[in-house]
Symmetry: C2
Subunit: 204 residues, 2 copies
């Protein structure tokens, strides 16, 4: 109960506050503040957000080629013929793809797994769309695979599994580099990263 006693509750306001809590990182206090702020100062913004939420939830699906979020059949990246069709970067989630797209000058294609292999959670090759991925491997267009899953245990396992799938098809398989972050001081870098960076030293 955010809003005072039972007699005091105004159902609609309370329901709005409750609904706002479905947003990540929004607790009862923030939800209350958001509701009041919209009611007091920005009803138009609230209505616009309502429309956008409905449109997005109903219309945004997955790209048929890369499984990224899009309201079209094929997302803009896949539809862009000026990109290198021979390279395929495999990521766990759409935000990962957005981060790579923003930070790197990579101009190849993507494939979004929407998760990582995790048998205990019932997430196997089917849930990650690996069948569609293999079809792309077999299409003959792709020559290089870049594995950009996270460097967690499951992420590594997923990268390994997909790497094997690609290798049996004679594709070149690459993994993004792991090591000490740029600007990181050795003293404060965690042991796992440091030992990985040391073992994976490269000639200069």
């Amino acid at each position: 109960m955010v809003w005072g006693g039972a007699l005091m509750s105004e159902p609609l306001l309370e329901q709005l506050i409750d609904s706002l809590r479905c947003l990540p990182g929004v607790g009862p206090k923030s939800a209350q503040r958001m509701a009041y702020q919209l009611l007091q100062r920005n009803r138009e913004g609230g209505l616009r957000l309502s429309d956008m939420l409905r449109f997005a939830m109903e219309r945004i699906g997955h790209c048929q080629k890369c499984r990224n979020f899009t309201e079209a059949d094929i997302c803009r990246v896949c539809a862009d013929t000026s990109r290198e069709q021979t390279k395929l970067c495999i990521v766990e989630s759409p935000p990962d793809m957005a981060a790579l797209e923003k930070a790197t000058d990579y101009r190849g294609m993507y494939f979004v797994l929407h998760g990582k292999l995790s048998p205990l959670d019932g997430i196997g090759p089917e849930q990650l769309g690996l069948e569609a991925l293999c079809e792309r491997f077999d299409s003959g267009v792709i020559t290089e695979i870049i594995l950009a899953t996270n460097s967690t245990v499951e992420g590594e396992a997923t990268a390994h599994y997909i790497g094997e799938l690609a290798r049996t098809r004679n594709l070149s398989v690459m993994r993004i580099a792991h090591g000490v972050p740029l600007g990181g001081e050795l003293e404060y870098v965690d042991g796992g990263t440091l030992s990985h960076a040391f073992a994976g030293r490269t000639p200069v």
Copy 2:
């Protein structure tokens, strides 16, 4: 631009991220996280939030008696005849009212100003609904006024102004106490509060 380059942007997703930023405390990163989270895991919650936002923005208005937010003509507090009709507590905003209702056992009525006197911002007696307030003063039902505006300069000025209005009508006027917060250590309390608390010492 949250979502990569121009060619990469999926208009609907981008519009959703943009709309989410109308919520207080939500920047580009949080908005992106919220949009992805809803799309990936909670489309139902997103649709419910969309409905609630629309209902709330369109239907919630002000109570005719106390000016608090409500979707009815008269809010639940004002409609509750078991409350003491003779006491009227004046607050700046609905959250203030909710906070008092939650923390105190006050069972009288409220009046919500939705602001404070601030001539420079063009907020005068009309904007605060003081005419309606005076009508309630004159109704003969109310005998005690409790001024619970914030203890800012404008809040104090507003309390003073309303206090004068009430006093000319021979109503008993009270102000909530200001002083050292409970559990506050004198050493860490700001000078203004401390000097106010010292000057306003009461016999024990």
